[in-house]
């Protein structure tokens, strides 16, 4: 079920992780009437110093996976391993210690930075709650600002005094404050203009190679994900439909959904290939409250067979280091 790993041991490993959000009715006599399976039996692993890209359309559960890993929300089922330790249900001081290694960069830095706090206290907060001295904090803040390409003289400014790209740098500096090993970047560059987006991507890559960070890079932009990731997982309605080495997934996508997704991305090189061989999916994402049975993609799949509506396909090996969940591949 999970991916086979050769040498380096996994930093993060996830087995059959699920998150179900209950749907309730009534206020006084509140009762559950169903559940949205936002994440449905997802397994993957991230090695030290590597990046796993998680792509999919809105509502596919990719952000929920990120939140689960950092334990912002609790899993309904499955296990999250970090360094071989089960962290799925840890709490209190155990979780507090783990959080030093697990950090998060949010999509919108304007709403994830306190507008009334100065940049130095935003960045120093994770250090202060861990008992650092004021002088040490000041020193560390200056160091972090420089690391993310800002000037230490920016420390006394408020978030609104920065541009979008600079604000995202502050968000990254805050995430780096505790010297984490694993960072979840949830659509960290989506809100930025193209030219600024490229700067932040380069920054994230540089920090990774300098500090040996691992990323879970959650994004909907396939070209950005390809650029930054080592491995890519494609999600559809809460499930991973394809996962593997980025070169393999992008060059020879095995799942029909991955194929359609890649073909839908407009690209520069396409002036020449215009009109030819473009595969446009019909229909829209089904309602996640009532997902189709069998393979979740069968309602939009150009190659669907009767079997697809009944039986849920499991991930199968397509090539070395590439797996996809499709009956056509069996």
């Amino acid at each position: 079920m999970s991916i086979e790993n050769v040498a380096p041991p996994d930093l993060i490993r996830v087995d059959n992780l699920s998150k179900h959000f209950p749907i309730t009715r009534g206020t006084l006599f509140r009762r559950e009437t169903g559940a949205v399976k936002a994440v449905d039996r997802v397994s993957f692993s991230v090695s030290p110093g590597k990046t796993l890209g998680l792509v999919g359309e809105s509502g596919c559960g990719k952000s929920t996976v990120g939140r689960l890993l950092v334990r912002l929300i609790n899993a309904s089922d499955g296990t999250i391993w970090m360094d071989g330790t089960d962290i799925t249900n840890i709490s209190g001081s155990d979780l507090f210690r783990r959080r030093r290694d697990l950090q998060f960069v949010f999509q919108d830095p304007m709403s994830s930075l306190n507008p009334r706090a100065r940049v130095d206290s935003i960045i120093a907060e994770p250090l202060i709650v861990r008992g650092s001295e004021a002088a040490a904090c000041r020193h560390r803040v200056a160091e972090l600002l420089e690391l993310v390409g800002l000037s230490p003289s920016h420390a006394r400014r408020f978030p609104h005094e920065f541009s979008g790209g600079q604000r995202q740098r502050v968000g990254i500096a805050r995430a780096l404050a505790t010297n984490p090993r694993f960072i979840v970047c949830d659509e960290a560059v989506s809100a930025l203009d193209v030219s600024v987006q490229a700067q932040i991507i380069n920054l994230l890559k540089r920090l990774q190679s300098e500090m040996g960070l691992s990323y879970l890079f959650v994004a909907h932009d396939l070209s950005v994900v390809k650029h930054i990731s080592d491995e890519v997982a494609v999600m559809y309605l809460g499930r991973i439909v394809e996962i593997g080495d980025k070169h393999k997934v992008y060059a020879r996508p095995a799942h029909p959904y991955t194929q359609a997704l890649l073909s839908a991305v407009p690209r520069h090189g396409s002036v020449a290939r215009r009109g030819a061989g473009r595969q446009v999916l019909t229909g829209e994402l089904p309602n996640p409250i009532n997902p189709p049975g069998g393979c979740p993609f069968h309602t939009r799949c150009p190659q669907a067979m009767p079997r697809c509506a009944i039986e849920r396909p499991e991930l199968v090996h397509v090539a070395n280091g590439q797996q996809a969940a499709c009956h056509l591949l069996e």
């Binding site: 359309e57 809105s58 541009s163 979008g164 790209g165 600079q166 203009d193 193209v194 030219s195 600024v196 987006q197 490229a198 700067q199 991507i201 380069n202 890559k205 909907h220 396939l222 070209s223 950005v224 390809k226 650029h227 930054i228 070169h247 992008y250 359609a260 997704l261 890649l262 073909s263 839908a264 991305v265 407009p266 690209r267 520069h268 090189g269 396409s270 002036v271 215009r274 473009r278 446009v280 999916l281 019909t282 829209e284 994402l285």
Partner: protein
């Protein structure tokens, strides 16, 4: 050649307060021929949306207005048109769709009612006939079960369906030009592909011209005939689409192209443009890209900015290009 459908000449848009005047868009000139697909590309704050709004006389006057230049639609100046003519122009001759269909649609009316209202405003026909036409146009934009959907409220439709309703509303009176301002930015890639295929199909079938405003160079590469690249309120480069991507002339265009990770090949590091775009209104004088330009030379700061023709329809506002072409002559 026949005169173009739309011709913008030296358009300038300013924002005025009691104390000062801020220049937002300056010296914009371009043509759109009948049935042509023109893309306008730029980052936020570059004036692309204001340019789009000026095409229909929709600038939020009096705070923001066109202070100079002309927007000629079939040789009539939109900027000096009386309100009654503008009313006829919008919808009948130029249609427009916006980025966020949820805020452009009325939440307390069914989408069918809203389209009927549009038709009745522009044409005299019975309510029943207008309703029939609404169903037909919803079918034309590929909305399944269109009779049912016409009775739905906007919140009952998905984002992609809402954008289809917007398109239906914009084309129901058969405009000759459709202006689409970031129509797919809020949508997922697979839905984005559907909407653009639809727009392109409508353009071909109806011979309607299309102006697509976007920040996504890839979209433009895929569909447009001609591209304008805007930076800080000015056009920095304009070219037929194949030319722009194979031999970009302006350093900003080259930087933009380098900033997008390519899907088909691997690059180690993205070529970036340092710094960030200047805030609207606080443009540097002379070449506005100068503070971020990697290729700047002595003389750039004092060069009077203008579009330098490079090759047929291709022009860029860069001093280096002018020097190069002068050398060749």
């Amino acid at each position: 050649m026949a005169s173009p459908l739309l011709s913008v000449e030296a358009l300038r848009v300013v924002a005025e307060t009691r104390y000062r005047q801020n220049l937002l868009v300056e010296d914009i000139s371009f043509d759109v021929r009948a049935g042509e697909f023109v893309g306008i590309v730029g980052e936020s704050g570059c004036g692309k949306s204001l340019t789009a709004l000026s095409l229909m006389g929709l600038l939020p006057k009096p705070a923001v207005r066109a202070s100079h230049g002309k927007v000629l639609f079939e040789n009539r100046n939109v900027l000096s048109m009386p309100a009654r003519d503008l009313h006829h122009l919008r919808g009948n001759e130029i249609g427009m769709i916006f980025q966020d269909p949820m805020s452009a649609l009325n939440p307390v009316q069914t989408v069918g009612q809203q389209i009927v209202e549009t038709i009745l405003l522009h044409e005299s026909m019975s309510r029943d006939a207008a309703w029939q036409r609404t169903i037909d146009v919803l079918k034309e934009v590929n909305i399944p079960a269109s009779e049912e959907r016409a009775r739905a409220y906007p919140h009952q439709l998905s984002g992609g369906m809402r954008q289809r309703v917007m398109i239906a509303m914009a084309i129901v009176c058969r405009p000759k030009l459709l202006v689409a301002d970031e129509p797919t930015t809020a949508l997922d890639v697979t839905i984005q592909a559907q909407i653009l295929e639809l727009l392109d199909q409508l353009r071909r079938e109806r011979g309607m011209a299309l102006v697509l405003i976007t920040h996504d160079l890839g979209l433009v590469a895929e569909y447009a005939d001609r591209v304008l690249v805007m930076y800080s309120g000015r056009i920095v480069e304009q070219a037929p689409v194949a030319d722009l991507f194979t031999r970009p002339q302006h350093p900003y265009t080259r930087g933009l192209l380098g900033s997008v990770p390519p899907l088909d090949e691997d690059v180690e590091e993205l070529i970036t443009i340092e710094g960030q775009p200047p805030t609207p209104g606080a443009w540097p004088s002379g070449c506005r890209f100068l503070p971020r330009c990697r290729e700047q030379q002595v003389g750039c700061a004092s060069w009077p900015v203008r579009l330098v023709p490079f090759h047929e329809d291709h022009a860029a506002a860069c001093m280096l290009l002018e020097r190069e072409t002068a050398d060749v002559d």
